[in-house]
């Protein structure tokens, strides 16, 4: 279970009080908007297309039932009854009034939560595997390291004005489920000669210049984590560009200066910084490892689970798609998707949040995780509890059996909410999901990652979708570019653009042609779309997307 941090609760209360005073000064004219803007951004407050937006940090996606209930309270009291899970495992509220946000931050502080560093050119929420501490293939639990990085980076005086925002992800499993290759720093937990450490990647990122990270250190002992990460960010802080915000991320610094140059500078900085760490970080890590100790797992029969699977095809289908292998016999991790038919991807109502909190207490060892693909996981559920859990989820419309399937789409808020967007994402995602469900093709297609961004900033991670969709404004009309072959997990890859974009109403027919072609082209049902794409290359898939061009 995740503990609220009492000492830091005082700190976040103090920050909430500071922000209340800043809002008051803005409203009474003591602060101009130009002066206030960076202050509100430091507290996760954006001004979007229709309203203010508050982005609340959920450190490494780990959240307790009481914290989840607080989010439900905020959704109901200060928003319009819902919140939106983000790809940084956070939550956004789309409709708060500026005058209410200080009260929201006070309510969050009561459960040790806040919105600090969810915006601005600082170190953002550290993300990790949603199945941390549970996954069968785990090398080591990434959460203690994520917590170490979180506590170190929060309000870190040296890193409050970086050239640009900075994102760190940690993967603990043999399979990367934290997308480390697309982060400013990616950390993969590995073991070497009996020692735990990290493979360190730098320079990954999406946006207008998508680049995969590169390995800067193939093994970093765990005790050197903070000094080495500090050395990377300190090097970037000085050498990263500040003349052009589009060239200010570390991916551009690495690209322009070269990995070898960066590595040499980082190692030099590391030597100096390491001397300044006197062991407090290692003591903290030991405390965090204890904080994230495993719950008391039950040793009980799973007969009821097997009986329910045999008796109920819908339950069996859900368990086939929405469970993840657990490291303890008799247990599974459960993915609750927020991609039901007609639903906005990643939106959760207050009632749904409360239900998840209750179910986590009843069946999930009081543990909940927000996943980077905008779902929620219960990492520890005994299989004998799965039939009852399924029934409770189903009654609330939360038992859609689609994790990792066509309708499990990552979509940014797009122009329905975002001030930066150039086109909408949500209606396109819903239309695609509805179409393939209606056609009955979703199960046949199998694993497929579709990702949609409403602008080139790529918050929907379209570059990493097996099928990526980018919404643009073409002469005052929404238009959607399609990329193919991206992958966030097995073999990290940036998708390749296929050709001219499609008007909104032609996106679904284009994907229908594409996926029917895939079903014809695949060797058998075990060959996923991305596997077939890698085997065959883009040509047959482009031909399906653009049949008229092939005819000519």
């Amino acid at each position: 279970m995740f503990d609220v941090r009492p000492v830091e609760t005082d700190y976040v209360r103090h920050r909430a009080a500071q922000f209340r005073a800043q809002v008051e000064r803005r409203l009474n004219g003591s602060l101009t908007e130009e002066e206030f803007r960076p202050l509100r951004l430091m507290n996760g407050v954006y001004l979007q297309l229709h309203a203010y937006m508050l982005r609340v940090a959920i450190p490494y996606g780990t959240i307790s039932p009481d914290q989840m209930r607080t989010l439900a309270h905020l959704a109901e009291t200060y928003d319009k009854g819902y919140g939106h899970w983000t790809t940084r495992q956070n939550i956004q509220f789309n409709w708060p009034r500026l005058v209410d946000i200080p009260d929201m931050l006070d309510a969050l502080a009561e459960v040790g939560m806040h919105a600090i560093q969810t915006s601005g050119n600082t170190i953002r929420n550290v993300t990790t595997d949603a199945f941390a501490g549970a996954a069968a293939d785990e090398v080591a639990d990434p959460r203690p390291y994520a917590e170490l990085l979180r506590s170190w980076s929060t309000d870190h005086a040296e890193f409050q004005f970086l050239p640009r925002k900075f994102k760190i992800a940690i993967s603990g499993g043999k399979k990367d489920r934290a997308v480390i290759a697309a982060h400013d720093i990616g950390l993969r937990l590995v073991e070497r000669d009996g020692r735990t450490g990290f493979e360190v990647w730098i320079g990954g990122g999406l946006g207008r210049t998508p680049l995969l990270g590169q390995v800067v250190r193939d093994f970093l002992p765990e005790e050197d984590l903070l000094p080495y990460v500090e050395a990377i960010i300190a090097t970037y802080n000085l050498s990263g560009r500040r003349d052009n915000k589009y060239k200010a991320r570390i991916k551009i610094t690495v690209l322009e200066r070269g990995l070898d140059t960066m590595r040499a500078e980082i190692e030099e900085e590391f030597k100096a910084r390491r001397r300044d760490f006197h062991g407090a970080d290692r003591e903290a890590l030991a405390i965090f490892k204890d904080r994230f100790r495993a719950p008391s797992f039950r040793d009980a029969p799973v007969d009821g689970y097997e009986t329910a699977r045999a008796a109920n095809p819908a339950f069996r289908s859900w368990t086939d798609t929405n469970l993840h292998p657990h490291r303890v016999d008799g247990y599974a991790s459960v993915v609750v998707t927020f991609k039901a038919p007609g639903q906005t991807p990643g939106d959760a109502t207050a009632d749904q949040m409360r239900l998840l909190a209750d179910l986590a207490e009843r069946y999930g060892h009081h543990d909940l995780r927000v996943t980077h693909d905008q779902n929620v996981a219960l990492p520890h559920v005994h299989k004998s509890d799965l039939p009852a859990l399924y029934d409770a989820l189903k009654a609330a419309g939360l038992a859609t059996a689609n994790a990792g399937l066509t309708s499990d789409i990552i979509a940014c808020p797009g122009m329905d909410y975002c001030a930066l967007a150039t086109a909408r994402s949500i209606p396109v995602a819903k239309a695609i999901a509805d179409h393939f469900r209606t056609e009955g093709l979703e199960e046949e297609i199998g694993n497929l990652n579709i990702r949609i961004s409403g602008c080139i900033n790529a918050c929907g991670h379209h570059h990493l979708g097996h099928i990526g969709i980018l919404g643009l404004d073409r002469a005052g009309v929404e238009n959607y570019q399609i990329t193919l072959g991206g992958d966030a997990y097995d073999i990290p890859a940036i998708g390749e653009r296929t050709g001219a974009g499609f008007p909104a109403e032609e996106v679904v027919p284009a994907l229908d042609r594409l996926l029917r072609a895939y079903l014809e082209l695949r060797q058998d049902a075990s060959e996923r779309f991305i596997d077939a794409y890698r085997r065959l290359g883009p040509a047959p898939f482009k031909a399906a997307l653009y049949p008229a061009q092939v005819d000519v």
Binding site: Y52, L98, Y417, R424
Partner: protein, 107 residues
Amino acid sequence: MSKAFTPTAARPGVITANDLREGHNVWMCEDGWTPDPARATIFEDEAIAELALLRAIAQADQVVGPYLVEARRGPNGPEPVHFREAFRQRGPSNYFHGIQAKDSAHV
């Protein structure tokens, strides 16, 4: 969207912003700011529009980020030209929220 839009008689415009306290979209009208885009003042003269925009910027105690944007004359008042402005005037397409829901709590 272009924040540097300059209205003319052939391509009129309106001034829009966000309400400082509540965040919702507002339009400059004859008696201040309105959440009803149909009541927005239409500008057809560059100089008059620029002066009005300066006045809007000076009202930082009421609004955030005012800008001029193209609009066309319609039977019930100014209408949006670009789809972004149409979304701002209507609200999101996935929920009946925002301006389209007149009885909502915040608009």
